[in-house]
Point group: C2
Chain length 233, copies 2
DNA sequence: CGGGACTTTGATGTAACTCAAAAATTGTGG
DNA sequence: CCACAATTTTTGAGTTACATCAAAGTCCCG
């Protein structure tokens, strides 16, 4: 079968962090207006510059959000995972999508129409506040990213991104990062060339900070990477 | 007198973009809970890492928001101007301030206590929605900044920032940008060294794209700068 | 008029990009 | 399940945009 271990049953709004505090009444309205779907790797949900008619909740899988730059180069802004929402920004701001959303790991998603989002944010303070909270957290993440890109070296940024990927996506039972990215995707996260990522990963490996098997990465010396990344928090 | 042309009378919440659509009822609650003040250039309103007990509306003047990097280098995230709000993010996210706020042009500000903000966002959907709207717009700005830092050259970023400063802060009657920044501040906006900004401004001047008189900049060929910045929108 | 803060210029170093070509891996259709 | 194509990864060499350092010049502002 196509979607191993995935089922539309795994699709409870209760699992979405932003909406955990909503009353059961609010949740009911919500549940009535959303649709669930399975989406396979490679699928594009919406494209930068297009109108977007709803937003998404991720129940399983991973979605990549990116902008496309001058020469077609992707700039990855976020990997969205279980419990998170995306696509709401453009609806609230009444703008076309400012990113492209692509499935990078088979996913179970909820889709909520824009009209429902706008109606709820307009009339339901608890709901509006829940989305506001998410937006504020994302804003701080974005500010940190700006700081990193502006002031840190590529090596520091790569070290940091490995740490953050471990924190956000955790490791499997063999202690490998659960998210597997191509070298190019790593490069497009930190704003560098693919070759630079390759050379730096080789350097980290030589220093025994990490182990690498294809796209699987195991972090050996997290402390050293944190120090190298100049990441303190 | 200290504050030329500034008066606490110029302090109407109606002038704050985010709150223009609020009902007069909502506005009243608001007005009762805010305090106005005049703040002179150089004043620091809050510092990164400190708890913040309220947020601000700008009626006049300009406030610089920045993070401090590894070696004390400022990373400027935003210049806040008339009609805008700031400081709300940390309150909503229940975090300490993630930036430092410094007055760079004598200002008239409203200050609204955190408790009022939290109370209003919790109970008043219109208000919560207003703040949400601001946050979503800022999020898109931040995403664009990430893209620029990651993929554009210093020259492209400087060209872009000049265009944006003109759009955001406009020009005075002599056609100069109304916001006057040091070379260092320009550098800290686009993530480069002061010397690089100086050399590039000289280059732009030689090409007659701009005129420079100290910190006053006049944009002569906006089209050429836009083209150079690879900014299309 | 003097001193601190900015600005400018030049010289030099290097982190990181680009290009190119080979090696390895992954995916796919027969 | 294999063979072939396509993509991704790796390595090397050459280039460059930009940072850094140092020193001189300029602008204010009291």
């Amino acid at each position: 079968m196509k979607f191993k271990n995935l089922s539309l049953a795994d699709c409870s709004i209760k699992d979405i962090d932003a909406f955990k505090k909503l009353s059961s009444n609010d949740l009911t309205v919500f549940e009535q207006n959303r649709t669930c779907s399975l989406q396979s790797k490679g699928m594009i949900l919406y494209r930068e510059g297009n109108r977007i008619n709803g937003f998404y909740c991720v129940h399983k899988g991973i979605v990549k959000l990116f902008k496309t730059g001058v020469n077609g180069k992707e700039q990855i802004l976020k990997f969205v995972k279980k419990g998170e929402i995306f696509g709401y920004r453009s609806i609230i701001a009444r703008e076309v999508a400012c990113t492209t959303a692509k499935i990078v790991k088979d996913a179970v998603l909820s889709y909520i129409p824009a009209t429902t989002l706008l109606e709820l944010t307009k009339t339901n303070a608890a709901f509006s506040n829940a989305v506001l909270h998410v937006a504020c957290l994302e804003l701080e993440e974005a500010n940190k990213a700006i700081m990193n890109l502006a002031q840190k070296t590529v090596k520091e940024r790569l070290a940091e991104v490995l740490i953050l990927l471990k924190k956000d996506f955790e490791v499997d039972n063999t202690d490998h990062l659960q998210i597997t990215l191509t070298r190019e995707e790593l490069a497009n996260m930190i704003g560098t060339a693919t070759e630079s990522v390759i050379r730096l990963l080789a350097e980290f490996k030589a220093k025994e900070l990490i182990e690498v098997e294809g796209r699987k990465i195991r972090i050996l010396k997290e402390d050293a990477l944190i120090k190298m990344s100049k990441l303190y928090e």
